[in-house]
């Protein structure tokens, strides 16, 4: 199978200080990320997620291991032409307007001159940044910076999009907007790799996840498989009376089943916030 990203036995050591003490950031990591999926790379701060992505993108060299992107050796120009990247806490040249930045990135990514205008407008539209695209980036809010960062990452229509903490510091409305962009990319058949420690969002948008800790891979699999407890079931019941509950318990016990807890369903605080605050503040 041709994977979007294939990482085999990746190890990355950093040398610290004059004595060159070795700090192992990634330890014998092997990962295979299938094409056309949203893949979440999770873990606490300092677990090696961002380092792994930097090695994949050729920004940092590997101490050991092999990496390929879309079947090409990583860090080659050909591989990067098919990859889009949004770094953590992106910072762009403040004096450029959003449109100028996206155009600049499109030019660097090899978009043909004849397709440039259309590609830039498409990317701005996808990130819902058309209206603010004429303003200098220095005037953008945090959420708008992330969205313009997303636009520059996808302007050359890459097959693989790598997002490093795309919702860090962004409010729930902005975060939901980025979630929609990720879904739009998946619907177009793109592979999205999402590096985050915001587990709620990852659970909502990702098809597969990998969890890293101290540079090692500790879990990998489809979100559904990883989170489901096959030996437990949840039923949501409307208008349940004490009598109905007693009858249900008796019926279940007759079949050897047992109710272990009964609670009221809750919506998440994030859902409630998004319902109350309809977000057009960034537009």
């Amino acid at each position: 199978m041709n994977y979007a990203i294939s990482v085999r036995h990746l190890t990355k050591d950093f040398r610290i200080g004059i004595r060159g003490l070795k700090l192992r950031a990634v330890d014998d990591l092997s990962l295979e990320i299938p094409r056309g999926q949203v893949y979440g790379l999770l873990g606490p701060n300092g677990c090696g997620k961002s380092t792994t992505l930097k090695v994949v993108l050729g920004l940092v060299s590997a101490t050991a291991g092999e990496i390929s992107i879309l079947g090409e050796p990583s860090a080659t120009s050909a591989a990067r032409r098919r990859t889009g990247f949004l770094p953590e806490a992106p910072y762009f040249h403040k004096f450029l307007t959003g449109r100028e930045l996206v155009r600049y990135c499109a030019q660097l990514s090899g978009v043909a001159a004849s397709e440039l205008d259309a590609a830039v407008e498409d990317a701005l539209g996808l990130a819902a940044m058309n209206e603010a695209a004429g303003r200098p980036i220095g005037t953008y809010s945090k959420g708008m910076l992330q969205r313009i960062g997303f636009a520059q990452a996808v302007v050359h229509d890459p097959e693989l999009i790598i997002l490093d903490e795309p919702t860090a510091g962004v409010d729930p409305v902005g975060s939901a907007s980025i979630g929609r962009m990720i879904h739009a990319m998946r619907d177009k058949g793109k592979t999205v790799v999402l590096c985050s420690h915001l587990l709620g969002q990852v659970e909502q948008v990702c098809d597969r996840v990998a969890i890293m800790d101290r540079g090692k891979l500790v879990l990998e699999g489809a979100v559904e498989d990883v989170l489901s407890r096959r030996d437990r079931h949840v039923m949501t019941i409307e208008a349940m009376t004490p009598t109905a509950r007693a009858a249900a318990e008796a019926a279940l016990e007759a079949h050897g089943a047992k109710i272990t807890s009964v609670t009221h369903p809750r919506r998440s605080l994030e859902d409630l916030f998004r319902e109350l605050v309809t977000g057009s503040r960034d537009a």
Binding site: K54, V60, F85, P87, Q107
Partner: protein, 277 residues
């Protein structure tokens, strides 16, 4: 190759825009321009030399000094702003090679210094021409041979100064690609400029016979590693005609400058290739 040139051009374009919007550039340009213009009113302090020589020395002195400050500080700032603000991460994750990035930075900074040198040389030309007219009229009345300056010489000097500043930018970029901090780059870059200005001393010493092979080797390495930045200072000879400069000598200075420029850019690219961002 065509794509590579384009990418380099786009990086240099944004680098140029970033640099000309900096207050530091505007401040040094205004300061240097004020120095050129003030040379007219300060010409009474000409210490017995010709007035035009004083005006030229004063104005070109400002251009050399502030141009060097701009080349060191601005280049280091342009490089480290990309690294520290992590815009380099976004750019280098695209199909942009590190030598293209470094060359883009070089050409952007060099273009800014081209504007700096051109504006100041233009002002200097106007000041020299205006004073020359007055001196010619006075000399004709007194029946003396008037002092003049050469426009062609001024143009040649502009090119030489631009090349000299290009060498300084290339040295600073080579230091930046290795250094971890802006401050270190500015300090070492400034020392490199001072060393370049004094390189002729090492060259003179190398030509004198010594008994110590270590000392001779040190001088040999120093004279090859550090460019002689004094060789570009031909203002008197080119602009005021105080000495004859042969065309061959100018070409030789030009080639020497270009060779150092290419060598330091190549060195910077090789170091930057291995840098972890």
């Amino acid at each position: 190759m065509k794509d590579s040139l384009r990418r380099t051009l786009w990086i240099s374009r944004v680098t140029f825009l970033e640099a000309v919007r900096q207050r530091f550039f505007a401040f040094l340009l205004v300061l240097s321009a004020a120095m050129v213009l003030s040379s007219v009113s300060l010409r009474v302090f000409d210490f017995g030399h010709g007035e035009l020589k004083f005006i030229a020395d004063f104005g070109f002195g400002g251009m050399f000094f502030f141009g060097s400050v701009l080349a060191v500080v601005m280049t280091a700032q342009l490089f480290f702003s990309e690294i520290d603000n992590k815009t380099a991460l976004t750019l280098l994750a695209k199909p942009l090679s590190r030598p293209e990035f470094l060359l883009g930075k070089f050409f952007g900074a060099w273009a800014v210094l081209g504007v700096f040198v051109l504006v100041l040389a233009g002002l200097q030309g106007v000041v020299l021409w205006a004073r020359e007219q007055e001196l010619v009229a006075a000399a004709e009345q007194a029946g003396r041979i008037p002092t003049t300056f050469s426009i062609v010489g001024l143009c040649q000097l502009v090119l030489l100064q631009w090349l000299r500043l290009g060498v300084v930018i290339a040295i600073v970029l080579a230091i930046s690609s290795l250094a971890r901090t802006f401050l270190f780059t500015v300090v070492v870059g400034s020392l490199a400029v001072v060393a370049g200005q004094l390189q002729w001393i090492a060259q003179d010493a190398f030509l004198r016979p010594t008994d110590s092979p270590v000392y001779t080797a040190f001088l040999w390495v120093s004279t090859r590693l550090i460019p002689n930045l004094q060789q570009f200072n031909l203002a008197d000879a080119l602009v005021l005609g105080s000495a004859v400069v042969e065309e061959g000598a100018l070409i030789s200075v030009g080639f020497s400058g270009l060779a150092y420029l290419v060598a330091y850019l190549t060195l910077g690219s090789l170091i930057f290739r291995r840098r972890e961002i």
